[in-house]
Amino acid sequence: MDGASLSQLDEVWARLDLVMDPELDEPVTDMGFIEAVSVAGPTTGHNNSTVEISFRLPTYWCSPNFAFLMAQGIKREVETLPWVGQAVVMLQDHMSADEMNAVINSGGVFSDVFADLHPGENLEALREKFDQKAFQRRQEAVIRGLLAQGYVADVIVNLTLADLSLIPFDDAEVTRQCSRYVALLMSKSLAQKAADLAFPTYQGTPIGEDFKPYMDLLRSVRINMEFSGSLCRNLKQSRYLEADTSGAVPILVTVAPSDHACR
């Protein structure tokens, strides 16, 4: 691909794995949003290469502020690679694609183009809201994992970071969520020392006696996020497909030239 070495593409993909869809708390790579990655310019040296990343969302209508956060995340993560001079992000097939690409690639801010559509939009507040939901969803997955392994509420609410680090999980998904949970816990300074509680609320208070209502809250956060997540996956997968009903059983066939990136 454009003379880029395989390891360079791998490095780009590894950075892209760190970019989340903020609404879903799932990697954009896992959601299938990344369509193509290419490297132009000299492939050796420092800050020399230009990487172009094109991405598509499940619909033409997806909220521009979510799209902006993802585009910004993609640019930022890829530009942390020492050999990358510039990452160019291209959103495709979206109602605001042209404006979005222009503002992202010139280093502008959201309100430069979307002030009319989103008056008073505060992307930082939105990011904070999503962080809270991501925290709650990851935390619920870990607590449910503990409950499934026989831990009771009284024990769970008193576990420390050190205790949690010693618990092996049977379920691979719980293991994945646990490491993501702990990372977020630390980055938000909600627990840092070994003796700190492993399961504080997002406000930093202990769950204490309120385990049941607290879990009800976490469940409602998960139900909402799962709705968006599974809808987005379905819509993304079928966006460029149409049914062919000429055979005995209808099948879905691709109608748009697919330039899905392989990795």
């Binding site: 559509l117 079928s238 879905l252």
Partner: protein
């Protein structure tokens, strides 16, 4: 009519159906194309494979297709046919009231046609409400708060202009206000599908029924909170129900939340035809049980009695449908055969 495996007759009112024309000829611009493309992705992403339609049929299907899929192939006894204009995207509207009224006339007694209006049109909206009442005797409307109108990209139920329209609806006996609340699209900070405006409107208009389509997902917790407080707020199951096929356990969590918070009297079946057809949805719902651990956690069960309410009794109450009289009427006039 849905007949259970035990032979019991269940009266089905499909609370959410459409008769749209989204054909390329009726599309005004790229937005019209992208709008129906997005619906088609819902259809192809969440339907069982054997239920898939070709794109051209999905863009524009006939009155006979509609009648067939709902009442002959499908188990519906009656259907609420909603109007949606999207005049910025479609030349004659997505499904205007005349188009809906024509199919209701062709197949009498089966359809309840709902109107639609845009409060941002001011006096014109009032005139249109009068027109729909006088010409089509509507008893309900469908509100689409994310509709574009000139520079405006959405409105809220508690906007002063909207209140003027609801006052008129109340006066004219247009009692059932269906509100589309669905996945987030633009704009977000004034999120047109945020459900909190329902709280204001339902409190201020106690005599109107507020049916929140798609039960406010992905804001189920906000919706449940409001619908628990307000006796006149109901949940439409369209879009939530198809998950019964692709992610049955997840559907169990949604329905358990609804039963726990708002109870079995306030949940309405809707196929969202032609995105999905009612036959497989009703069959799967009837056969469905909430997974044991979820049912236990929430202390709820989806019994046959509750399913019967969801499938028809609840909507019949809202629309004053006399089920016994309708059944007698349908028995006297056997099903018309479509495509004669």
């Amino acid at each position: 009519m849905f007949i259970t495996p035990e032979g019991k007759e269940i009266f089905v009112v499909d609370g959410h159906t459409h008769f749209w024309d989204a054909s390329p000829e009726n599309q005004k611009n790229i937005h019209g194309k992208q709008f129906i493309d997005c619906f088609y992705a819902y259809h192809s992403g969440l339907s069982p494979k054997e239920q898939l339609w070709e794109k051209s049929k999905f863009e524009k299907y006939s009155a006979d297709d509609l009648y067939n899929d709902l009442f002959i192939d499908g188990p519906d006894d009656m259907a609420i046919l909603n109007s949606t204009y999207l005049s910025e995207f479609y030349k004659t509207g997505f499904n205007n009231i005349e188009r809906n009224a024509s199919v209701a006339k062709k197949y009498p007694n089966r359809f309840i046609v709902n109107g639609a209006f845009d409060p941002r049109d001011g006096q014109k909206a009032h005139e249109y409400i009068h027109y729909m009442k006088e010409t089509h005797n509507i008893t309900g409307v469908k509100m689409y708060t994310a509709e574009w109108n000139g520079a405006s990209k959405g409105w809220r139920l508690n906007d002063p202009l909207a209140y003027k329209c609801f006052e008129l609806c109340e006066k004219l006996g247009i009692k059932n206000i269906h509100v589309h609340k669905g996945p987030t699209i633009i704009p977000l900070n004034k999120d047109a599908f945020d459900v909190h405006d329902v709280d204001y409107a339902a409190t201020d208009f106690q005599n109107l029924n507020w049916i929140v389509e798609h039960c406010g997902l992905p804001r189920l917790d906000d919706f449940c909170w409001i619908a628990t407080q307000e006796t006149n707020v109901f949940a439409g199951l369209a879009v939530a129900l198809p998950f019964i096929h692709s992610r049955p356990r997840y559907f169990g969590e949604i329905i358990a939340e609804l039963l726990f918070w708002i109870g079995p009297e306030k949940i309405l079946f809707g196929s969202d035809y032609a995105i999905w057809t009612p036959k497989w949805l009703v069959e799967k719902l009837w056969a469905y049980q909430i997974p044991e651990d979820i049912a236990k956690e929430r202390g709820v069960q989806l019994t046959d009695e509750i399913k019967e309410k969801i499938l028809g009794l609840n909507a019949a109450r809202l629309y004053n449908i006399d089920i016994a009289a309708r059944k007698a009427e349908f028995a006297k006039h056997p099903m018309l055969i479509a495509a004669e």
